[in-house]
Symmetry: C2
Subunit: 192 residues, 2 copies
DNA sequence: TCGATTGTCTAGCGATGCTAGGATTCGAGT
DNA sequence: ACTCGAATCCTAGCATCGCTAGACAATCGA
């Protein structure tokens, strides 16, 4: 039995290597540079090995996305728990979210821009995605305001952050005033 | 001279045909289906003809984006001018914007998701893009609130709309509550 | 030690964006 | 009216993409 277990371990290890390498390559040179050939070369295996772990490139993107969702949730929770008062918590959340998007553009793309074959906003949505939304909800729900559904408010707030993140990174918004825009957004949206 | 003029006209006409066909194909089957071969076949010319009009696929996307920017600006202005009062103008603007994004997903992608090789937020930004932003600014500047820079406010509002548009269309947000989210956004962001 | 199963690789398919170079058409000048 | 040059267009091909079939080798159970 031990032999099989060792093989399973090695296989899982290789799968992590694939995901980590894909992520690394994407952050370095963008997702366009993440081709199955290059990826295979970097992990020092042949192309078909990738397909014994994932159905295709999409699933690899999806795996990076799930990894990123967990990190995003952790980053948001760390930021909010270190802040005092609802207003400051929300501001910290917004900054942490945008900071994550700016620091991990490829991961953010995998999560929200590319097709990773993941289900969103449904029952069969993977746990890390649900949890990332939950992390937002925890702080944002408290500033939704009277009579406003916390989930709906969170969705709207999240969408605003997402818009700022993507437009800024795509060069549609100048990054200089990013901080001011965040402050303005928090001031208006959060009811304290 | 007349001969040359006729040729120029025909050439311009063919360029319009390329852009219109690319847009049509993208709306029908998505941008992935817009390959140079399919596009060439639809316009009943060979592939290299495309490259005598545009540097490559990117520029074709860019051309569709510029066309879309003009339409978006017109749609926004039509909606705001038909509404009474600042609050209702902003709500109409938001609805018109999201409606445009939902009705013309491929054009919206060309504008804000794909790389059309266009410059944004700079001096050499094409006029239609500047004008689309100006259309937003005209109405949104009035509800920025005291001491808030109208341009900055418009950028933030625009980012929020963009986030709602993209997340909804990508299946990250359920479309059922779209209207509620818009109303909430307008209520919070617009100072009347 | 043998046979079967598992694991991996080489080679190749169809499709992509883009381009070189030849063929054809067309207009200008005599 | 005729020829020649230039503009115009197409055929064919390149490198690369995601993905897969089928051959080969390594490994395990008997």
């Amino acid at each position: 039995m031990s032999v099989q277990e060792r093989k399973q371990r090695e296989r899982a290890e290789r799968e992590r290597l694939i995901v980590a390498t894909a992520r690394e390559l994407a952050e370095q040179q963008g997702w366009d540079a993440v081709t199955t050939r290059r990826l295979a070369e970097r992990i020092e295996y042949s192309q078909p090995v990738l397909y014994s772990h994932f159905r295709g490139k999409r699933e690899i993107i999806g795996a990076v996305a799930l990894e990123g969702a967990a990190e995003l949730a952790a980053a948001v929770r760390a930021a909010t728990s270190a802040a005092d008062g609802p207003r400051e918590q929300v501001a910290a959340l917004a900054r942490a979210y945008l900071d994550f998007a700016a620091r991990n553009p490829a991961v953010y793309d995998a999560l929200f821009q590319l097709d990773g074959g993941l289900a969103y906003a449904q029952e069969d949505t993977p746990e890390p995605l649900k949890d990332a939304f939950a992390a937002l909800l925890e702080s944002l729900g408290e500033v939704a305001g009277d009579g406003v559904h916390p989930g709906l408010f969170t969705e709207m707030f999240w969408a605003s952050l997402h818009g700022l993140a993507t437009l800024t990174r795509a060069g549609r918004l100048l990054p200089e005033d990013a901080a001011q825009r965040v402050e303005l957004l928090v001031d208006r949206l959060a009811v304290v």
